[in-house]
């Protein structure tokens, strides 16, 4: 059964008008119940001096007025700074300076590119010429080599032709054999360490 259904004004327990407030600091949390020693405790607020209270309210009113005015002033200052940083004289000047700087840098960059391009073209031409020269030199060397080779081969052929005159053929065979037999050769010779022949 819910307690609210049985509740009647006369049956409600009478409570003191001021409720026991739990202190903000201390070992008890907000869910801990008050102690048994504090059951009948009735807190009385401190006495208020009406003159002092009036003076205090006036002071608070003035204080809050001044603080509010300061807040408004600071807020307008912040807004003004924001506005000026975005759309101000200084901002425009800075933007113009930045644009001019950018244009200068782009022009300088283009000039640099042009200069380097020209240098590069000159260098490439030079390199091409060098390459041509080297290739021509190589070709000359090769032609020289081939010519030397051809000459060597020609000389060899001529020498062989010369030697071929003293070859032994089927026709010369009989005559060369008779000639060899008619001319005896002596092999009685020695050779020293220095390479001199000794006949004895």
């Amino acid at each position: 059964p819910s307690p609210s259904a049985d509740w009647t004004p006369s049956a409600a327990p009478t409570r003191p008008p001021i409720k026991v407030l739990l202190p903000a600091r201390g070992r008890k949390t907000r869910h801990d119940p008050p102690a048994k020693s504090k059951v009948g405790r009735v807190t009385t607020p401190p006495a208020v001096d009406p003159a002092e209270f009036f003076v205090l309210t006036e002071r608070y009113r003035e204080y809050r007025q001044i603080v509010r005015a300061l807040r408004v002033e600071f807020a307008t200052e912040v807004r003004k700074n924001l506005y000026e940083s975005r759309v101000g004289v200084l901002a425009e000047r800075r933007a113009r300076q930045k644009a001019a700087e950018h244009r200068e840098m782009m022009a300088w960059n283009r000039a640099e590119n042009q200069r380097l391009h020209e240098l590069r073209m000159a260098r490439l031409l030079q390199e091409a010429r060098e390459q041509e020269r080297l290739r021509a030199e190589e070709q000359a060397l090769k032609a020289q080599e081939t010519q030397a080779w051809v000459q060597l081969k020609e000389r060899e052929v001529l020498q062989l032709q010369e030697e071929a005159k003293s070859f032994i053929t089927r026709e010369n065979l009989e005559a060369r054999v008779e000639e060899a037999l008619d001319s005896p050769k002596s092999y009685n010779w020695a050779i020293t360490r220095e390479g001199q022949v000794v006949r004895a």
Partner: protein, 131 residues
């Protein structure tokens, strides 16, 4: 939201004191932070410091970055009571009414005590004269 970039509902930007330091040696930093974050937790910007213990010359040092405080108040930051008191003492804000009231009450109490002490000495003097 990532681990440190939590998003809270409600709450506002507040300029308040964050406690640091060691045991029996507090040290406060004046900090702009969301009001729902922990006292010593994530903050937006540090705007100053306050040393509650007096130094060897008997001074309590307070550092305030007034430019940034102006900016954050202009962005709509709330202030906690100790920060308001410090700014009032610094002269940036008007003096807090409770500070003036407490000073007056203290002065009145001291005057009352002095009066009581003088009255007591007067009565003692008259008693010694009578005896």
């Amino acid at each position: 939201a990532t681990f440190l970039c939590k998003v809270y509902y409600g709450g506002n930007l507040t300029i308040r004191l964050t406690l640091g330091g060691c045991a029996n040696r507090p040290f406060y930093r004046i900090v702009a932070a969301h009001s729902k974050f922990a006292r010593d937790g994530r903050f937006v910007e540090q705007l100053g410091c306050y040393d509650p213990l007096p130094n060897s010359h008997g001074e309590k040092i307070v550092g305030l970055n007034l430019e940034r405080i102006r900016y954050w108040i202009g962005c709509g930051a709330h202030l906690s009571k100790p920060v308001e008191r410090l700014l009032g003492l610094a002269g940036f804000f008007p003096l807090h009414p409770m500070m003036i009231t407490n000073a007056e009450r203290l002065r009145r109490k001291r005057a009352r005590e002095a009066l009581l002490a003088s009255q007591k000495t007067d009565t003692e003097a008259t008693e010694t004269e009578a005896s």
